[in-house]
């Protein structure tokens, strides 16, 4: 859409304001606006068909409404999501929308009502974070039956800084980005601040790298600025590869200009106009959005030569990653951009001194860059007022696993795990007990219930043996076996280790083998000691951060759930009933009601018995007439331990031991 607009180069603030006007008209048109969440997640949940259904129905009814696209609105559990904006009224977010519910939604809108069974939350005004202002949507509160975002548990404790535009704007429209205060911070930086001042602001804000290490961003920039060399680079790491994590993807899909603007401010501060964005090939939508965003910014002269007439030039290239997890490591990523095998090197000489092609290079991840325009816009003090003692600002987490509300959440640092899991996440489904939460990606650690009141920030998470990582958060309930969990992550890591150094390559493989042995009930006491020894040597002597942190899943589960390891090894028992080799299913003949459902469901037909009245209830007459049943029993030698009999038994007669 935006391509059709006549663009002219933005030189002055007035030009930017003109584009902002266009953006605001698009964001808040004089007609009904139906925004569908079309991020990768929404598309997977069926949002494309939903949009088509909306378009068809709007056309059919001749409704004065436009159907538009946005990306991740955050509430994954309730996808597909539609955001409805009627001029003069509160904006309402609807969830669990299907093509079938489109008619009802439009009926309600036409009646001036709310489709309450799908309504999630309402907004009476939109915050424009970068400038700290608000856009008033409704003059008075309408739709008061729907909770406000502040009153909706999933959104109440969230503060969206890096994700400020995600699910709000159409990320294919630079005008909408500018309409929400975009590129204002770049203008301020280029026209009013010396590079050193920018670095000072970032330093004072307390921003730390969101990619995992938590290194102070201002300090990194300062080192790179003072490093010797004419050619320097800024790089954005978008090689997010943790299983179950999608923070960076969502930010890139939802707000590519936010990342670009941060990158440009960083480039200016460090003293370079050369940038790379390393995007993994598994993120095709993010790459497309980014490519388009770069083209749009070039058309407006926001990327290119002499930006805002200040003499600052900026060029950015997208480097496509081949999907190796290790390429998220800074030196491996740079090797990969250079065209070499993606392998890390020893980092005693930092990349800020000698990085890409041996030139001083500043690498930050997507979320870090996305924070930068806001910090410049609102000031260091504003940013530093959010968060905890040592970790300022917010952090985006992908909250997944055994929680009622899965989703992409952004919360102030220092919020407790309990608030994230129980308030935002809504707790554990099915009245199950919380067991542990895994943070920090595959090489993070598992944190048990004792630490639910832990304040989530870089330092606290490390203290309990886990880490912030890039922000994956996987919740596990009582049905999770912690040995099996460690085994799962080690399986990932042994395959994703680059294999360069001995401890990481051999150690992760060997740890996986031992964990597998424990899960099969074949391990002995000394295997646990060997496992701890290997974990120690991998942690202590590996070359890069992948190896140094790879033993975390093992070490943290041994630390908090040693009894589970011991149960597997000594008693050949899996307390959670997950490890197939250690589980046996049997049927209590006293409790069996001879209904035969277990036998009907058994995929290998290893359950036999006779349907009928249970022996205890059967009369002699029943027996004579052949109506008496015989309790069912499982033939252990043929059982594949799939557990379907256990699930299907209506009286709990099937036992898992």
């Amino acid at each position: 859409m935006s391509e059709s607009v006549q663009t002219r180069v933005i030189r002055a603030l007035a030009d930017l304001e003109q584009v902002a006007q266009i953006g605001r008209q698009r964001l808040y048109p004089q007609c009904i606006k139906l925004k569908v969440g079309l991020g990768t997640c929404g598309i997977a949940a069926g949002a494309v068909r939903l949009r088509e259904a909306l378009e068809t129905e709007v056309r059919k009814r001749g409704l004065d409404a436009e159907v538009s696209a946005t990306t991740c609105i955050g509430f994954c559990q309730r996808e597909p999501l539609v955001d409805v904006q009627v001029p003069g009224r509160s904006r309402v977010l609807y969830g669990d929308m299907t093509p079938d519910s489109v008619g009802d939604l439009l009926d309600a809108i036409e009646r001036g009502e709310v489709l309450s069974e799908h309504a999630i939350a309402r907004a009476d005004a939109d915050d424009e974070l970068v400038s700290g202002t608000q856009y008033q949507l409704a003059t008075e509160v309408t739709e008061e039956d729907v909770p406000s975002f502040a009153g909706c548990p999933f959104y109440a404790s969230q503060l969206r800084v890096a994700t400020r535009n995600c699910g709000v704007i159409d990320s294919d429209s630079i005008e909408e980005y500018v309409g929400r205060g975009g590129y204002r911070a770049l203008y301020t930086a280029l026209t009013e601040c010396a590079p050193e001042q920018i670095i000072q602001i970032i330093t004072d804000s307390g921003l730390r790298g969101r990619g995992g290490g938590g290194f102070p961003t201002g300090r990194k920039w300062a080192s790179c600025r003072s490093a010797r060399g004419d050619t320097k680079y800024v790089v954005c790491n978008a090689d997010e590869g943790d299983p179950g994590a999608y923070m960076d993807r969502s930010v890139l899909e939802g707000d590519p200009h936010g990342v670009l603007e941060g990158l440009m401010i960083g480039g200016y501060a460090i003293g370079t106009g050369e940038a790379f964005i390393y995007v993994r090939e598994e993120y095709p939508l993010a790459r497309r959005k980014l490519t388009r965003a770069i083209r749009q910014a070039e058309q407006y002269g926001l990327i290119g030569e002499d930006i805002f007439g200040t003499g600052f030039d900026f060029h950015v290239k997208i480097a496509r990653g081949g999907g190796a997890f290790v390429c998220g490591e800074s030196t491996a990523l740079m090797a990969s951009i250079e065209g070499h095998v993606g392998e890390p090197r020893a980092k005693h000489i930092h990349t800020v001194e000698s990085g890409l092609w041996d030139k001083p290079t500043t690498l930050n991840n997507v979320e870090t860059w996305a924070n930068v325009p806001v910090i410049i816009g609102r000031g260091a003090d504003w940013f530093a007022s959010i968060g905890s003692e040592g970790s300022k600002g917010t952090k985006v987490f992908s909250l997944v696993g055994k929680v009622k509300n899965t989703g992409l959440v952004e919360v102030p640092m220092g919020i407790t795990l309990r608030e994230i899991i129980y308030d935002i996440g809504g707790g554990i489904p099915g009245d199950k007990e919380f067991k542990a939460v895994q943070t920090g990606g595959p090489s993070g650690g598992c944190i048990p219930a004792d630490h639910l009141d832990l304040e989530v920030d870089f330092d606290r998470l490390s203290e309990v043996g886990s880490m912030m990582g890039s922000g994956g958060m996987i919740v596990m309930d009582e049905d999770s076996c912690m040995v099996d969990v460690a085994r799962y992550f080690l399986n990932f890591l042994r395959e994703e280790s680059c294999g360069k150094c001995t401890p990481c390559r051999e150690g992760n493989q060997r740890m996986f083998e031992i964990l597998d042995k424990i899960c099969r009930g074949e391990a002995r006491e000394e295997d646990l000691e060997l496992l701890e020894d290997i974990a120690d040597v991998v942690k202590t002597t590996s070359l890069c951060a992948l190896g140094k942190s790879a033993p975390n899943p093992v070490l943290s589960t041994i630390r908090y759930f040693r009894d589970e390891y011991e149960a597997h090894i000594r008693d050949k028992r899996c307390p959670a009933g997950v490890c197939k080799a250690l589980v046996t299913y049997s049927i209590d003949p006293e409790a069996c009601i001879c209904c035969g459902r277990c036998a009907a469901d058994c995929p290998v037909e290893c359950i036999s018995g006779k349907k009928g009245k249970p022996p205890a209830k059967a009369t002699d007459k029943d027996r004579e007439e052949g109506k008496a049943g015989e309790p069912f029993r499982i033939h252990a030698e043929a059982c594949i331990k799939c557990g379907s009999c256990y699930e299907v038994c209506p009286v709990g007669a099937v036992q898992r031991t």
């Binding site: 290790v326 000489i349 294999g499 001995t502 051999e506 992760n508 120690d536 002597t541 070359l543």
Partner: protein, 261 residues
Amino acid sequence: MPTIHFTIDGKKVSCERDSMLLDVALANGFEIPALCHHEAQPPYGACRLCLVEITQGRRNWIEASCTYPVRDEGIEVRTNSEKVQRYRRLNMEMLLARCPESEKVRQMARQLGLERTRLPEDGDTECVLCGLCVNVCSDVVGVGAISFVGRGSERRVDTPFGDPSDVCIGCGACAEVCPTGYVSAVDNEESMTREIRPFHTEHRLVACPECGRGFVTERQLAHLKEQLGPRSDILQGCPVCRGRRQAAELRRAYLTMTSGT
């Protein structure tokens, strides 16, 4: 370059700033085991056997000495502490399980006091993945016929797609630097061929015009001629015959000189 003063096992040593710690230690007569270190190649940091313990003020840590640039005055390095031995042995246990057939690995393990590993000795290779062959081929020879293939425990050294290499010049540098003998260059005088194992790449040997021995592969000769340009006439004949010829010339020159006086 400024000079840095520090100690290794209590002995005072000094070196230029940013010298690699392993090089300094070896030059000062300390013994540190390593598999991926070669004086003709930049440090790689793969085997993690050259571990040392470094103390700097209150900090104390284990470090691979090959990739550690010495930058700080007064650091205390220990090459054989209990901690160092523990971690060297643990890495060695894993290498031994990987390469149970390698005499070199077994011998190094024995030197670390390790007769056997607690892990199953189920590896079926003699390759320790030190990277010397890959790096010598690409960085020193400048050919790049072999590379690492695969990730993690699947990693191995191979030619593209495992096919005989079409860029290999058969120089045998890979075999020369291989610490375990996994890579080898085997000459067959009868068929006048050289095979680079295990990359099943075969080369034709060029016979020395004097003694008839195959001394260089055709492609290596072409490669060297290209590099040497006008000076490539020095490649006439095998090194032994060249030496003999030069010795004879020297002798003649000497005799001429002495007889003339």
